[in-house]
């Protein structure tokens, strides 16, 4: 009898420990996977760079016979005639490419003329890929023949450059970062005033009756609505609205921010109201007794004490904006853009991941890198909330 009890106890305890380790493992798995897949691409170039690659075909208007003084390393190849250093490298897909390591300031290659238009000046920059150089009456230097051969060809004083083909590498996420920053700013600009004032209304001014109760239920119901439904609200209400009052002609960033503002609203109202509730009633009575009217009391005495709550709501909101995807796919579109305009569609970081993962083939590596950035921001937001709360507790004790 006793043995049987002990056995079942051990078994049940085993289940508890197993379950807990599985939960911890889940977090570990997500962080481990995202970091191992995405860490290789994490760099400043990624954050600053364009997503779409661009090819240039240009001519070299001035030929130079100056000799540049260059210091190449063992793996790089100097072209003294033009002030360039090239290197043999690999792109993200693993193909071998010739990368430009250095361009001298007065190099003829910083004054190329675009062949398409015939008058637009472009310059070769560090980090770009050299694809092909064609000469008058000589065979073309190709990527497949390597950087060493290309450098030797260019250094040959007999060769006159006819045409240069080079490319700006893509895969950067600057556009999506800008969109995300715009979204955070615009959304908070709309959601914070609306949410904080609503919280003040519900907590300080609203009469206790059926109408208030219904209004409260209505705002709280928003919490349970799935985000894809907010997306539908966005395309039926906010997109047509922005098309009417702004230069936008389809899905756009402002409509996206409006949709996000509605998503954040219940959280901001609830968090602010909780902060208002803990302000002691005595403070209100004291202010009123000193002759202040209710408006002054609420905005000058009560509201300042609720600022930590509003701050918490802001951090929660930023986390939600960064992670939101379903609603934005409808309202903001899923086309990745390099130049962001608030009247046009673009992608936030989360939607950028979705767009790449639904593409064929899916770009898991870059998606994971973006996921690292998202996770880091969410982590910082969570820590900030903890910081605000512990500050509040310290202040309360003092």
């Amino acid at each position: 009898m006793r043995n049987k009890t002990r056995l079942s106890d051990i078994l049940l305890n085993g289940f508890v420990y197993l379950a807990t380790s599985l939960s911890v493992l889940a977090l570990g798995l997500i962080f481990f996977y995202v970091f191992t897949e995405g860490k290789d691409l994490l760099s400043l170039d990624l954050i600053r760079g364009n997503y779409h690659s661009r090819n240039y075909v240009a001519t070299l208007p001035q030929s130079s016979n100056d000799s540049f003084n260059l210091q190449p390393t063992e793996q790089t190849f100097a072209i003294e005639r033009f002030g360039l250093i090239l290197e043999q490298s690999e792109n993200l897909a693993g193909d071998s490419v010739i990368r430009v390591v250095y361009v001298a300031e007065d190099s003829p290659f910083s004054q190329l003329v675009l062949q398409e238009t015939g008058n637009e000046v472009v310059s070769l920059k560090e980090g770009m890929i050299m694809m092909r150089i064609a000469y008058e009456n000589h065979p073309t230097s190709l990527t497949s023949r390597g950087a060493a051969a290309m450098a030797a060809d260019l250094n040959d004083p007999d060769r006159v450059v006819r045409e240069v083909m080079f490319a700006q590498v893509g895969g950067g996420i600057r556009g999506s970062i800008i969109t995300t920053v715009y979204l955070i700013g615009l959304t908070l600009m709309m959601a914070l005033p609306l949410g904080v004032l609503s919280a003040i209304f519900f907590n300080e001014f609203a009469p206790r009756n059926m109408i208030t109760k219904t209004m409260r239920t209505f705002t709280e119901t928003l919490t349970g609505v799935p985000s894809i439904i907010f997306g539908l609200l966005g395309i039926t209400v906010f997109v047509p609205l922005t098309i009417r009052i702004t230069p936008a002609s389809g899905s756009n960033l402002i409509a996206g921010a409006m949709t996000l503002a509605v998503i954040l609203l219940p959280t901001i109202i609830r968090t602010t109201e909780e902060a208002l509730k803990v302000v002691p009633a005595d403070h209100r009575f004291a202010s009123l007794a000193l002759g202040a009217n209710k408006t002054q009391t609420v905005f000058k005495v009560v509201l300042p004490q609720a600022i930590p709550g509003i701050l918490t709501a802001t951090f929660l909101g930023i986390g939600r904006i960064i992670g939101e995807s379903a609603a934005l796919i409808f309202v903001l579109g899923a086309a990745i853009k390099d130049s962001v305009n608030i009247y046009q569609p673009s992608t936030s970081l989360a939607v950028h991941i979705w767009a790449m993962m639904t593409d064929e083939p899916a770009n898991v590596a870059l998606s994971s890198t973006i996921a690292i950035i998202i996770l880091m921001i969410v982590l910082v937001m969570n820590l900030s909330i903890k910081g605000v709360v512990s500050l509040m507790i310290k202040k309360g004790r003092a």
Binding site: V34, K294, I353, V378
Partner: protein, 308 residues
């Protein structure tokens, strides 16, 4: 504080704040009205000469679009409803025991320091955006499920399907269930636990037969919330479901699709029936969530609050 004591300034403030409050309360009304208005269009109009969609067929058919886009109106969402509920409940089958037992460990067994760390971990898990869960689902679960299916002699579509969706949703639901269950387990009256221990029950027996039972109502609330989230989750599901056009799918390795994943596929046109029908799906989704919530809350009332 009645309105009698308000000065003129206060009355203006009160008036303006009432308007703000009304705006906040109006959004849910907007959502309901606009989605309903657009969602019924395919059933009432003749869809630019294609003929109206039959509501009965829409709710019972097992093929999403029978025929080419923009020519056919044979949309059937019946299998999507079945798939959505099937996947949500299967995922609860995994996340519920893990979530509740983790909560029990945090609330009753773990030393204070470890409990604090675990609570932070659960908070972090619930703060991770769903798209990241979807990404991990594609990159980590799909290859495993693919080779698992292969070892059973099954050729799955790259691993996407019911099982992958269930795993991703279960992973997402664990923090919801854990955090709500933990609060209700912690608030169980300690005197009944002491009574159980005094009667000779072991700690483990007390935890499982007294504490968990007493916290039943809160644990159930967590499960209801998790189901609601699983039913409405869209992007993560659309990445791993495989987007089947017909069903219902019960096989674990077969590709599937849910109401939400179908709403996200092929979003190219901005008018016409193929666009409007998404709003009909939106109505279906809301009704499914509301009904599931009502039924589960009814069950909770029937079985809950025996010991508490």
């Amino acid at each position: 504080m009645g309105s009698k004591s308000l000065s003129r300034v206060d009355r203006i403030t009160y008036f303006l704040l009432t308007i703000v409050g009304l705006i906040s309360a109006s959004f849910i009304v907007f959502i309901s009205i606009f989605i309903a208005l657009k969602g019924v269009l395919p059933f009432l109009t003749d869809n630019l000469g294609l003929g109206s969609v039959s509501l009965f067929k829409f709710l019972t058919q097992t093929v999403w679009l029978n025929g080419p886009t923009f020519v056919s109106t044979a949309y059937g969402a019946g299998f999507l409803i079945v798939n959505t509920l099937y996947i949500a409940f299967l995922s609860l089958l995994i996340s519920f025991p893990i979530g509740v037992l983790t909560a029990l460990f945090i609330a009753k067994i773990a030393p204070k320091k470890i409990a604090g760390i675990l609570r932070t971990i659960i908070e972090l898990l619930s703060a991770i955006p769903s798209i990241v869960y979807g990404l991990v689902g594609v990159g980590f679960f799909l290859p495993i499920i693919y080779s698992l299916a292969r070892s059973f002699g099954y050729s799955s579509s790259g691993g996407s399907g019911t099982l992958a969706t269930v795993f991703v949703l279960a992973l997402m639901s664990i923090p919801t269930i854990t955090s709500i269950s933990e609060v209700s387990i912690r608030s169980v009256d300690q005197s009944i636990e002491h009574a159980s221990l005094a009667l000779g029950a072991t700690f483990t027996q007390t935890r499982f037969k007294i504490t968990l039972l007493a916290a039943k109502s809160g644990i159930f609330s967590g499960a209801i919330l998790a189901i609601g989230r699983s039913l409405g989750e869209a992007t993560a599901v659309s990445l791993v479901a495989g987007n089947a056009r017909s069903g219902p799918t019960f096989g674990l390795f077969d590709i599937t699709s849910t109401i939400t994943s179908t709403m996200l596929t092929g979003l190219k046109e901005t008018q016409g029936i193929d666009y409007d029908i998404r709003f009909s799906l939106g109505i279906v989704l809301m009704v499914v969530i509301l009904l599931t919530n009502m039924i589960l809350n009814y069950i909770k009332k029937k079985v809950g609050n025996v010991h508490a």
